[in-house]
C-alpha cells in the first residue's frame, strides 16, 4: 500500500512537471500569435460544420443505429458540436498600455495620503498635504486631478474597490471644502489591485491603504 501511495505521489509530481506547457503556448501579444489563434478558430468552425453535416451519415453507421435501437437515448446521430452559437474564443484583445506618468502637480508636495484599517477618515496629519494641493488646483484652474483610492489585499476585490472609492471621495471632499472646483477632480478606486508594496503583513497593508494624487 505504501509503495502504491509513493508511486502515486511520484506520478503526481511527474504530472505536475508536465503541466503548464500548453498555456504558455497560447500566443498572446504578437500579431503572428493572433493569426494562429484565428486559424484555430476557423478550424473549430470547420469542425463543427463538418460534424453537423455528417449527422445523417453518422446515423447510418450500424453501431450508432444499434445504440438508438437498444438504448433509451433518443437519437444516435452525431451530436451537435459547437456551432456559430457557441464560438471558441477569438484571438485575445490587447488592451492599450495605460496613460503615462501624468502632469506635474504642486512642486515638492507629497502625493500619497495613508489611512487606518477599515477607515476612510483623512487624518489631521495629512491636512497640510491636502492644503498644498488645494492651493495648486485653485491657482491652476486648468489642472485636473484624479484621486486614486487603494486598499490592502484582504477581503473581496469589489468591496475593496468601494472602500478605496470612499478614501478617494474623502480626499475629494477635503479639497472641495477648501474651495477647489468639483469639475477639476475625479475620484476613482483601484481597490486592492495596485498595491504600493508587496507583502501580506501589517507593514505592507499600512502602506497600501492610501489615496494618491494623479495630475493629468
Amino acid at each position: 500500500m505504501k509503495k502504491f501511495i509513493w508511486s502515486l505521489l511520484i506520478l503526481s509530481l511527474l504530472a505536475a512537471c508536465a503541466s503548464g506547457v500548453k498555456l504558455n503556448d497560447v500566443p498572446v501579444e504578437d500579431k503572428s500569435g493572433a493569426k494562429i489563434n484565428n486559424s484555430q478558430n476557423k478550424d473549430a468552425d470547420k469542425a463543427s460544420k463538418s460534424a453537423n453535416s455528417s449527422s445523417s451519415a453518422g446515423a447510418g453507421t450500424s453501431s450508432a443505429s444499434n445504440a438508438a435501437n437498444n438504448g433509451n437515448v433518443g437519437t444516435a446521430t452525431a451530436s451537435n458540436l459547437p456551432d456559430a452559437k457557441q464560438p471558441t474564443a477569438a484571438a485575445p484583445v490587447n488592451a492599450p498600455t495605460a496613460a503615462d506618468a501624468g502632469m506635474a502637480g504642486p512642486a515638492n508636495a507629497a502625493k500619497v495620503i495613508y489611512f487606518d484599517y477599515d477607515s476612510y477618515i483623512v487624518k489631521p496629519e495629512f491636512q497640510a498635504v491636502i492644503e498644498v494641493h488645494a492651493q495648486f488646483l485653485k491657482s491652476s484652474q486648468r489642472a485636473r486631478v484624479s484621486l486614486e483610492g487603494h486598499t490592502d489585499e484582504r477581503g473581496s476585490r469589489e468591496y475593496n474597490l468601494a472602500l478605496g472609492q470612499k478614501r478617494a471621495d474623502a480626499v475629494r471632499q477635503s479639497l472641495t471644502l477648501l474651495g477647489v472646483s468639483a469639475a477639476q477632480i475625479e475620484s476613482v478606486s483601484f481597490g486592492e489591485e495596485k498595491p504600493a508594496v508587496a507583502g501580506s503583513d501589517e507593514a505592507a497593508y499600512a502602506k497600501n491603504r492610501r489615496a494618491e494624487f494623479f495630475y493629468k
Binding site: 503541466s19 489563434n37 474564443a89 477569438a90 474597490l161 472609492q165 495596485k194
Partner: protein
C-alpha cells in the same frame, strides 16, 4: 453498504496524466462521513491509445469531479458492441458500466462511440456516435460525461460548459475562457493593468468585466467569439461589479458617479443608468435573483458589510445575512435554492452556503482566503478562488462541502472565476 460506496475519513488523490501536450491533471479530495456515490466502471475506449485524447480519462475525471461518482476500471477492454460480464461486475458492487471506442476516419476526423449499461438491471442505457476533429475530442468527451451524468442522476451535466477567470503573472493580466475542467483555456484579453469581475452573459457568448487599462475601473462587454468589445460604463468615478439580468437585456452595476458606490441598472446596449439603491453607505456586488425580480448585494449600511436584497422595481432593502461581521460576494444558484457568499470568521475568509428555504448557513471549506463563489448552471457545484501555499488557485466544491477539486492548470496566479451557462444544444 449495499450498492453505494461509502468512505470514512478518507483522502483520495486521483491523478491522471493525459497524452500529448493536452495534459490533464486534477485532484479530487474527499473528506467527511457517509458520502454516497454511484459506482461506475469505465472501460478504456478501444483505439484511444492512438488518439490525441484519452477519452475515458477525461470522462472519468469529469464524473469524479462532480462528487457523485466513484469510478473504477473495467479491467477488460469493452467497446460499444461488447456485452459486459455482469456476473463479475455485480460482485464488485458496480452500478453502471461505460464502454466505447474511437476510430480515426480516412478524412482525419474521429468517430467516437459509447454505450452505457445499467449493471443492476443488466440493461442497455443507450449510447451515441460522434464525428469530430481532433480539436473537439475534449468537447465530445465532456458531452458524453454530461449524458452519463444526466442518465444516472437525473440532473443536467455541466462538463461541457465553460468558465472564465483572470490570471496575473508579473505585470501581465489576462482574461481567459476555458472548459469547466480548466483545460482548453483561450485568452480573451491581455492587459498591463488589472482585470476583475468577469461574468458571463446568459447567452454564453459575451463577458462583462472591469478593466483598469485607462487608469480607472471601466466596464466592458466582450464578445468571446469575435473578440470585439465595447465600453458599457465609463461614467465619472468608478464603474464596477457588472452582473447580467437573467434575460440578458440589462446589467446591474456599481457606480460612484455621484460619490459613494451605489447600484444601478443599465441597458446591455448602454445608455443612461437607473439608480436602484440610495444610501450614504457602500452598496456593491449586485447579483440578480434567478427570476430577475430582485437584486442581492453587499452593503455596509448596518456598520459592517452584509448581504441585502432589494426588489428591482424599487422598495426597501432587506438584510439577508446576520451572522458575522463581514459577508460579501453573493452568488445565487439558478434553481433559486441557494445563496453562496464569503464570510470572514476566526479562521479567515471561507465560502458559505445559505439554504434560502430556511436561512440555514453552512461553511463549505477549510481554507482561509476564499473569494468569489460561483455556481455551476445545474446548481450542484460551486467554483471559487482561494490560496494554496500563497498561490492563487481555483477550486470546486460540492454543496455539502465534502468533495473538493482543484482546477487544472495555469502556472500563473488564477482568480476571479465565473461559471458560464449551459451550452445550447
Amino acid at each position: 453498504m449495499s450498492r453505494s460506496a461509502s468512505f470514512l475519513f478518507t483522502l483520495v488523490c486521483f491523478i491522471f496524466a493525459g497524452t500529448n501536450l493536452a495534459h490533464a491533471e486534477f485532484k479530487v479530495e474527499i473528506s467527511g462521513v457517509g458520502i454516497t456515490q454511484i459506482p461506475i466502471a469505465v472501460s478504456e475506449f478501444r483505439g484511444q491509445e492512438a488518439s490525441p485524447q484519452k477519452i475515458s480519462g477525461i470522462i472519468t475525471a469529469d464524473l469524479e469531479r462532480s462528487g457523485q461518482f466513484k469510478s473504477s476500471p473495467t479491467g477488460v477492454l469493452l467497446d460499444e458492441n461488447s456485452h459486459p460480464d455482469f456476473h463479475t461486475i455485480k460482485q464488485n458492487n458496480i452500478d453502471a458500466v461505460l464502454t466505447g471506442s474511437i476510430t480515426k476516419l480516412a478524412d482525419g476526423r474521429f468517430d467516437i462511440r459509447y454505450r452505457l449499461w445499467d449493471a443492476v438491471k443488466t440493461q442497455d442505457l443507450g449510447g451515441q456516435s460522434f464525428i469530430a476533429m481532433a480539436g473537439d475530442l475534449r468537447l465530445v468527451s465532456h458531452r458524453i460525461a454530461d449524458q452519463i451524468y444526466e442518465k444516472l442522476t437525473g440532473d443536467k451535466g455541466i462538463f461541457s460548459t465553460r468558465i472564465t477567470y483572470v490570471t496575473k503573472q508579473n505585470n501581465r493580466h489576462m482574461l481567459w475562457v476555458a472548459d469547466a475542467d480548466g483545460e482548453n483555456a483561450q485568452a480573451a484579453l491581455t492587459s498591463p493593468e488589472p482585470i476583475i469581475s468577469p461574468c458571463w452573459a446568459p447567452n454564453g457568448n459575451e463577458l462583462a468585466y472591469v478593466s483598469f487599462e485607462s487608469r480607472k475601473p471601466v466596464v466592458y462587454v466582450h464578445d468571446v467569439g469575435s473578440g470585439k468589445r465595447r465600453v458599457l460604463a465609463n461614467f465619472k468615478g468608478s464603474n464596477s461589479a457588472p452582473a447580467w439580468a437573467p434575460d440578458g437585456k440589462t446589467l446591474a452595476i456599481a457606480l460612484s458617479r455621484d460619490g459613494g458606490t451605489q447600484i444601478f441598472i443599465l441597458d446591455a446596449k448602454g445608455g443612461e443608468p437607473r439608480q436602484i439603491t440610495q444610501s450614504p453607505s457602500i452598496d456593491t456586488e449586485p447579483v440578480f435573483s434567478p427570476d430577475g425580480s430582485s437584486i442581492y448585494f453587499v452593503s455596509d449600511r448596518g456598520g459592517s458589510p452584509q448581504i441585502y436584497r432589494i426588489p428591482v422595481s424599487g422598495g426597501a432593502a432587506q438584510r439577508v445575512t446576520f451572522s458575522g461581521s463581514y459577508n460579501v460576494s453573493p452568488a445565487l444558484s439558478l434553481d433559486g435554492r441557494w445563496l453562496s457568499f464569503v464570510s470572514r470568521g476566526a479562521n479567515g475568509y471561507r465560502v458559505q452556503l445559505m439554504d434560502l428555504s430556511n436561512d440555514k448557513v453552512t461553511s463549505l471549506t477549510e481554507s482561509s482566503q476564499d473569494e468569489k463563489p460561483s455556481f455551476a448552471p445545474n446548481s450542484k457545484l460551486i467554483m471559487y478562488a482561494t490560496k494554496v501555499s500563497s498561490r492563487e488557485v481555483l477550486m470546486t466544491t460540492t454543496l455539502d462541502g465534502k468533495i473538493g477539486t482543484r482546477l487544472a492548470g495555469q502556472s500563473a496566479n488564477i482568480r476571479e472565476p465565473h461559471w458560464g451557462p449551459f451550452l445550447k444544444p
